[in-house]
């Protein structure tokens, strides 16, 4: 019931924040209406960071406690993070073409490290398919998830460490949160969209976690079924039928 309510609240929040961002907030003086894409691009990027951060933390937790529920949290974070990273890249491209004049530039460190982040976690999801043993899979995936998370701060600080096309953070640091370089209405629209997207993310995470747990139970049942069938076959092969008994009886 709580999750359903969260889903409804998240849906209403995303619709409300989108209407505000698209129709109520004025257009930017320099970038025009294309700047409205920021209101979905920035939350997507934030949720990509959050998802992969959760995957890495859940991976550390799994290696420490060996609890498969933490692995379910990790896979939920990775799958949802991949989706939001792809959306962040897409939103950036749709904004970049009218404002920068190009969809993509490989020389830009923010764009390239974000593409790398997407590739790393796609790899994480593929890597999980290499083994059926849940604990071996969880342990290996945890290591990959933790190593891949090293790219998160690199993506975030790339605009400060290196020069490129991508602009610096508008409200990304504690100082900028208090003194943002954008008008208050823009910041309010962005913050409300970030909150709405985060609610939707929480709902998706809960549902994906539930799915991972049920999939694990089904997988476990299949493995036990195969194991008991193999034992029965081995027992049948080891004990010869009594004299006179028909074969296969």
């Amino acid at each position: 019931m709580g999750t359903r309510l969260l889903g409804i609240v998240a849906l209403l929040a995303v619709v409300g924040a989108s209407v505000n961002a698209l129709f109520l907030v004025p257009a930017d003086v320099y970038q025009g209406d294309a700047q409205r894409i920021m209101y979905v691009h920035v939350p997507s990027a934030w949720l990509a960071y959050l998802s992969f951060g959760v995957t890495a933390l859940a991976g550390i937790g799994y290696l420490w406690r060996r609890d498969l529920r933490l692995d379910a949290v990790a896979v939920a974070g990775a799958e949802i993070g991949v989706m939001f990273t792809a959306f962040a890249i897409w939103g950036g491209m749709m904004w970049g073409r009218p404002v920068w004049g190009v969809y993509w530039q490989w020389e830009d460190p923010r764009l390239t490290t974000t593409a790398l982040l997407l590739a790393l976690y796609l790899g994480y999801l593929l890597f999980r398919r290499l083994t059926d043993d849940p604990h071996r899979r969880a342990a290996r995936a945890a290591v990959v998830g933790i190593v891949a998370a090293v790219d998160i701060p690199i993506v975030h600080f790339s605009v400060e460490w290196w020069r490129g096309l991508h602009q610096g953070p508008t409200i990304g640091s504690p100082d900028k949160v208090l003194h943002p370089s954008a008008p208050g209405l823009f910041v309010l629209a962005l913050v409300s969209m970030v909150l709405a997207f985060t609610l939707a993310w929480a709902w998706l995470m809960i549902r994906r976690y539930q799915l991972a747990r049920i999939e694990w139970q089904i997988e476990e049942h299949g493995r036990l079924g195969r194991l008991s069938a193999a034992r029965r076959a081995a027992r049948k092969a080891a004990i010869p039928p009594p004299d006179g008994a028909p074969e296969g009886a």
Binding site: G32, A34, I37, F87, G91, W203, L204, R207, I218, H221
Partner: protein
């Protein structure tokens, strides 16, 4: 509104994509729950004591 095509493409793919993922997730969850229920029923019927033959 300027750059309308880019705005529609940006919002359409992102919001539509999240909605599509949410819908597919609910479908996968419902299929997994059904499969899990069937497995549980099968397991219960396999472990249930045989019916009393004298009755």
């Amino acid at each position: 509104m300027q750059d309308l095509g880019f705005i529609i493409a940006g919002y359409g793919v992102i919001l539509g994509g999240v909605a599509l993922y949410a819908g597919l997730l609910l479908r996968r969850l419902s299929a997994a729950r059904r499969a899990s229920l069937e497995i549980r029923r099968d397991a219960e019927s396999a472990t249930a004591p045989p019916p009393d033959r004298e009755a």
